[in-house]
Amino acid sequence: MEFKFTDEQIMIRDTAEAFVSEVSTSAAVRSAMLMPAGYDADLWRQISADMYWQALPVPEALGGLGLGYVELAATLEQTGRFLLCSPLMATTALAVPAIRLAASDKQQALYLGRILEGQVATLAHSGIKTHGSDINVQANVTDQGVCLNGISRHVLNGQTADFFIVAAKETFASGEQGVSLWFVDSGTEGLTIKSLPTMDQTRRLAELQFNNVVFSPQQRLGGEAKCQAQLLSTILDLAAIAVSAEQVGGAQQSLDISVAYIKERVQFGRTIASYQAIKHKCADMMLKAESARSGLYYAACIADEFLAGACDAETLAEAASITKAYSSEAFFFNAGCGIQLHGGVGITSEYDIQLYFKRAKALESFLGNASEHRERLAKQLLGSEVTL
């Protein structure tokens, strides 16, 4: 038990902090927000070529860095802190775990290889609700090939992805409807990618429309025709932990920029920071940021244990729900308080706190909101289940 960063992990975090704080300034974020891709492609090339962050959780044998979720969390905490606009989350936190958990060795080499080269990948996992419960894409497997029809919404960075891992519903031999996962290249015929304008302009979502999209059954992840619902759930748990990392960074930065502002701002002849009610609000924000961080590190450790075969998917699910539930509310709370602490300027475009607020709202419902994750935990604790 040594619940702190190793020296190497500190170095990774510090490197990330130094890099992101330089490239993802307020001006850079605002510029990226207006780009069609939602991010600066040059910066993404820099990240993927120089920083090689997409390789963090890719095994060394395949050319990756072979690092774990603690290192990934340390990095994403910094990208979240500075609102970095990039397809890093989609590629590294959604696509990579899907490939690692579900793909065959041959597929892993191929698709992780493409990611290591800097290609953008993402997961088209569901409609709205958590954990694949709401998949609106049908897969019809025949001798001629696979045919997908339907819609997948809220696909992170779907606009610029080179390939997708698509979750579809398929009727299996047993008659049971299950989830299957497929590699689909962005150029495939019949696939229409529609950009969805979003409230949080720092994160792009797309809608994928599948209209008789036909390809080879070889593109099934893992190659075996079986229900991958539990696997998808586990992939999304790993993704949720990564999202929490960005939430923790955002929660911390919402506090930090607010404290910096109120220490300067004078009202009624006193710095706002001297008012007790203001101080107490900041104390509550710090409590949330620190506790969210503890939950994140815990979940990151569990993720590494899971990937090393040292704990089961149930334990991972618990950790993911704990961190996602808490950090979702912590970030939203801190960003909301941050606007209030800023006073009038908090609601202007000019100040950054509103960007954090929008990011907090967007991440809160992404991959399951706090209520959904708490109900999942309640089910683990109490056995019984209720429908949300």
């Binding site: 304008p197 949080d200 979502l205 009624f268 609601i347 209520s371 209720v386």
Partner: protein, 398 residues
């Protein structure tokens, strides 16, 4: 104690409803349910026309004395009017600052000449007013006003110089009332004046403030030796604080009931949405919908208690909770709206940044707990004035 309206009030209700049904249509169909806080920038020309139409039919300023073109409507009638107006989807009243703030202030404190000059155009819906209270360095601290008013004896005019902020509809208004310091030596509440300023002059510059919604409801207004006639000061130089405070008192009047009806419309939208998209099956959202409903009903009864006057003539302490109450409630409603929309709350109507009504409300309600005195300020006031607790000390760091 009784809740129901009299038969004559109910007859008045029918009259209002009928008129709205017959007139809020056709060219005005497009502005139903539009305007109001967060949507103040929308359909300005149409709403100006609508204001004049209301004026022609005698539906502006109904609470004003008949001498100034009002109906001397009772509190009950004003409540009824506001209810029916909102129920019919009456657009946010672009003339509300004139009708509910400037007008009552002039009627109470203005000279006869001022009343003759300004009240008719408010009453007819022709003159739009905006307010100049807050300043960048003062925020909620009106006593720290830095805008200066210097009197030119020869020309018999005041020259106003300074900056105001958070001024709604500044670029659409003919007039602005401005609190400025007439005595450069004075500090705090002293040496202020209350001016009525023509916005159409070279000394006035307006710069829209872009908000987190992407729209610009608020403005910065810069006065550079803006001219104000000696006749256009309400009260005497040095009495500005008293007039300004009285004006804020009018703000907490019946206009709040109109506001509540807008809230009711928003709430109804959320309920309909929940029924449509299945959010009504989520037990937590059900609780929050019920909580919002309770909150809105109690807001109404809080207001009715205040409007009915105190039971025993003492300070109406309960009136002081109003701003804190509605702003917190409305902010929570914004979040509830997003949670009822679910993941789709993230998706806008169109590029580049077209928020739907509930999304806009969600974002804009973050301003509710800030402008007009932050929640922190409101709690100070309640504790100090209603509960007699010690005042927050002022610092020296001015």
């Amino acid at each position: 104690m009784k809740l129901r309206f009299s038969a004559s009030d109910e007859a008045f209700r029918v009259e209002v409803a009928n008129w709205l049904r017959d007139n809020l249509c056709g060219e005005f169909e497009s502005i139903r349910f539009r305007g109001g806080p967060g949507d103040e920038h929308s359909f300005v020309e149409e709403r100006k026309a609508w204001e004049r139409k209301l004026g022609e039919a005698g539906w502006t300023c109904i609470g004003w004395p008949q001498a100034w073109g009002g109906r001397a409507a009772s509190i009950e009638q004003q409540v009824v009017f506001n209810e029916e107006y909102a129920r019919a989807g009456g657009p946010g009243r672009i003339g509300h600052i004139g009708e509910t703030l400037m007008g009552p202030t002039l009627i109470a404190y203005g000279s006869e000449a001022q009343k003759v000059k300004y009240l008719p155009a408010i009453r007819s819906g022709d003159a739009i007013w905006c307010q100049g209270y807050s300043e960048p360095s003062a925020g909620s601290d009106l006593a720290n006003v830095k805008t200066k008013a210097v009197f030119d004896e020869q020309a018999q005019v005041w020259h106003i110089t300074g900056q105001k902020v958070w001024t709604s509809l500044a670029h659409e208004s003919q007039y602005c009332f401005v609190v400025a310091r007439t005595d450069p030596q004075a500090k705090g509440h002293k040496g202020l004046g209350f001016f009525m300023l023509d916005m159409d002059q070279p000394g006035v510059t307006i710069r829209p403030i872009e908000q987190l919604t992407g729209t610009s409801e608020f403005n910065e207004v810069f006065f550079d030796s803006a001219v104000c006639s000696a006749d256009d000061i309400v009260g005497k130089p040095g009495e500005g604080w008293q007039v300004a405070m009285a004006l804020l008192g009018f703000e907490r009047g019946v206009s709040t009931l109109g506001q509540q009806m807008l809230f009711q419309n928003e709430f109804n939208d959320i309920v309909q949405l929940a029924k449509r998209n299945g959010a009504d099956r989520d037990p937590m959202l059900r609780q929050r919908i019920a909580e919002a409903h309770i909150g809105l009903r109690l807001m109404r009864y809080n207001t009715l208690r205040v409007l009915s006057g105190s039971d025993q003539g003492e300070l109406q302490a309960e009136g002081m909770i109003y701003k804190l109450y509605w702003s917190s409630w409305h902010r929570n409603l914004g979040k509830l709206a997003m949670d009822v929309m679910g993941a789709d709350s993230e998706i806008l109507e169109a590029e580049p940044y077209a928020l739907n009504r509930l999304q806009s409300m969600f974002l804009f309600t973050r301003a509710d707990t800030i402008y007009g005195g932050t929640n922190q300020i409101q709690r100070n006031l309640i504790a100090e004035r209603a509960l007699g607790m010690p005042r927050e000390p002022r610092g020296n760091n001015e």
